[in-house]
């Protein structure tokens, strides 16, 4: 930790002590520190300390062309990079008034849902690991790799795809891709009962996860909790359905909710969303052969592209919650200002600090992972 975070309280009561978790620890998908004040094994106060992944993306983007920024956007969230690039493209398209071809929209949905599957597998595997069960994590990572293989085939990149550009997508699917996605999806669906048996019917996990880190629905609304964490408190809200973008209004999927609001409910919502994503991908695969036409609309010379002046606020549902971009153009060939609002900015700071109070030391990592916080989104 950095020197200023070593400072202890001036006169701590004799029964209290301080503990620094991080920046490298099992509770989160990146570098993030959490400073605890403890009494025995009970947390009295938790304080988030971010900044280890700050790369100044918002400032960097102001100095680069609209098209160059595509290489920066996915790096804002490593486990789930696709919504970042899609939402940036949606913002530029909104400013320019570009009409995206239908086929590109369906390809984007396919990519976004595959990415959601990969991110959820990562997260609930990691959540199990924080309770001492490493098998779901290994299984989750192995199954996630099959999706990364598909991404590699589609666009050459496994983690960062940069498959979208303003106006559409870079290239069409390779021959036989639909069948291979379909096979992978079938395989993943056949794995779901295994996950249920291993994790959700496991008494160790049930006992550890139930009743830990409870958020009530009122608190969730007050603290701007979004995504699976909000749905785990019983509120059926999903940007895909309630503020639709791309072609989500033409797709049939359910919004998964749970009522308990604890770590268990959050893991369960993610587990059920895996099935919903599989459902969506099946619909997309059935629809894609019918839709013919271009995969992107003509755009001006990207190296001398002056985007019309204006501002836009674009929202998407990423695997972690509500993701939004505020993009301002002054009519120049570079963005005047970009502001990214990642869901983890709420979950990893205010919500985590409040939830950790009163919990026991061994549950801190579990609460962090059950919130599915992504430090690069906080730091940018």
């Amino acid at each position: 930790m950095r020197p200023e975070n070593y400072e202890t309280q001036r006169q701590p009561p004799s029964h209290e002590y301080e503990l620094n978790i991080g920046p490298n620890h099992p509770g989160i998908e990146g570098n993030y520190a959490f400073k605890l004040r403890l009494h025995g094994d009970e947390v009295i106060e938790g304080r988030a300390d971010a900044g280890y992944l700050h790369r100044g993306f918002e400032k960097l983007m102001e100095g680069r062309l609209w098209i160059q920024n595509l290489a920066i956007t996915p790096r804002i969230c490593v486990p789930d990079p696709v919504p970042m690039e899609i939402s940036y493209c949606l913002a530029v398209e909104d400013l320019c008034g570009l009409e995206v071809p239908e086929r590109a929209k369906w390809l984007r949905v396919l990519q976004a849902e595959l990415s959601r599957l990969a991110a959820h597998l990562f997260t609930f595997g990691g959540h199990a690991a924080t309770t001492g069960m490493y098998t779901p994590m290994f299984w989750g990572m192995a199954d996630r790799d099959l999706i990364l293989d598909l991404f590699e085939e589609l666009c050459g990149g496994r983690v960062y795809h940069i498959y979208n550009i303003p106006g559409g997508v870079r290239r069409d699917m390779p021959p036989g891709f639909i069948e291979r996605v379909s096979n992978t999806i079938d395989y993943l669906e056949s794995r779901l009962p295994d996950y249920d048996n291993l994790m959700f019917r496991n008494r160790v996990f049930v006992k550890r996860a139930r009743g830990v880190g409870v958020i009530s629905q009122q608190h969730a609304l007050d603290w701007a909790v979004t995504g699976p964490n909000l749905r785990a408190t019983g509120l059926a809200f999903d940007v895909r359905r309630d503020d639709p973008y791309l072609v989500y209004d033409q797709l049939d999927f359910d919004i998964v909710t749970e009522d308990a609001g604890d770590a268990w409910a959050r893991a369960l919502v993610r587990r059920k969303e895996l099935f919903e994503s599989i459902k969506i991908i099946r619909q997309v695969l059935a629809k894609l052969p019918e839709i013919e036409g271009p995969i992107r609309c003509p755009i001006p010379n990207p190296l001398a592209w002056n985007v019309p002046a204006g501002s836009t606020y674009v929202r998407m549902e990423s695997s972690k919650g509500e993701l939004a971009w505020y993009v301002v153009s002054n009519g120049g060939e570079k963005p005047y200002r970009t502001h990214v609002r990642g869901p983890s900015q709420m979950h990893a700071v205010q919500v985590l600090e409040k939830l950790s109070v009163g919990c026991r030391i061994e549950d801190v990592a579990q609460i962090m992972f059950s919130l599915d916080a992504c430090p690069p989104e906080v730091d940018r």
């Binding site: 200023e4 900044g51 603290w223 509120l235 309630d242 505020y326 200002r337 609002r341």
Partner: protein, 189 residues
């Protein structure tokens, strides 16, 4: 959604009657409101208390040095009306002080802390204005438009010639780095 429609019509009527507020519907789900800085907290109170806009999605700050102003944009969402209001307001760049809306929206604390760190805008009444991401930073707020990253680097760090042995060998054979950094067309300011 009839109730939602009524509320939405009611909101349009209230906003059009208020003085000092300009509002424009960009689409059925997006509403842009331009409001004076001293009226913004009252507007947010109205939106949250009377019109169900309970979710503060984000606060964005934009620096306009030519106008001598910071533009603050409050994006609030209503789960019932399914619409997003972006309330734009401008405050003078000097001294760059504004009021916190933490008492209306709890999540504002994070965004205000972030804007204070990156733009140097001080929010009176915000619970925590301490540093968060840039803990070891003692320079000016870096997201301001007059902050020049390249000049800062030149002033504070030394350039090191990158000339390792293996590269010398390649250069001796007629090769080398393809495009020198100062000849790159787009990556620099």
């Amino acid at each position: 959604m009839t109730k939602g429609k009524e509320l939405s019509t009611w909101l349009d009527k209230v906003l059009s009657e208020l003085e000092g507020i300009e509002f424009r519907r960009k689409s059925s789900r997006r509403l842009r409101v331009d409001v004076a800085a001293d009226a913004l907290p009252a507007l947010l109170e109205l939106l949250r208390g009377r019109a169900s806009y309970v979710h503060l999605s984000a606060i964005s700050c934009v620096d306009w040095p030519d106008d001598g102003a910071f533009e603050l944009v409050y994006h609030v969402w209503s789960y019932e009306l399914q619409s997003l209001v972006s309330a734009h307001t401008r405050i003078p760049r000097e001294p760059g002080v504004y009021i916190s809306v933490y008492d209306i929206y709890t999540p504002a604390a994070f965004f205000e802390r972030d804007i204070h760190e990156m733009f140097g805008v001080y929010f009176e009444g915000s619970p925590d204005m301490s540093k968060f991401i840039l803990t070891e930073w003692d320079g000016p707020p870096p997201m301001r438009k007059d902050f020049d990253s390249e000049a800062w680097v030149n002033d504070h760090f030394d350039w090191q010639d990158y000339n390792p042995e293996w590269l010398k060998e390649i250069v001796a054979q007629g090769g080398g780095i393809a495009i020198r950094p100062d000849e790159q067309r787009f990556s620099r300011k």
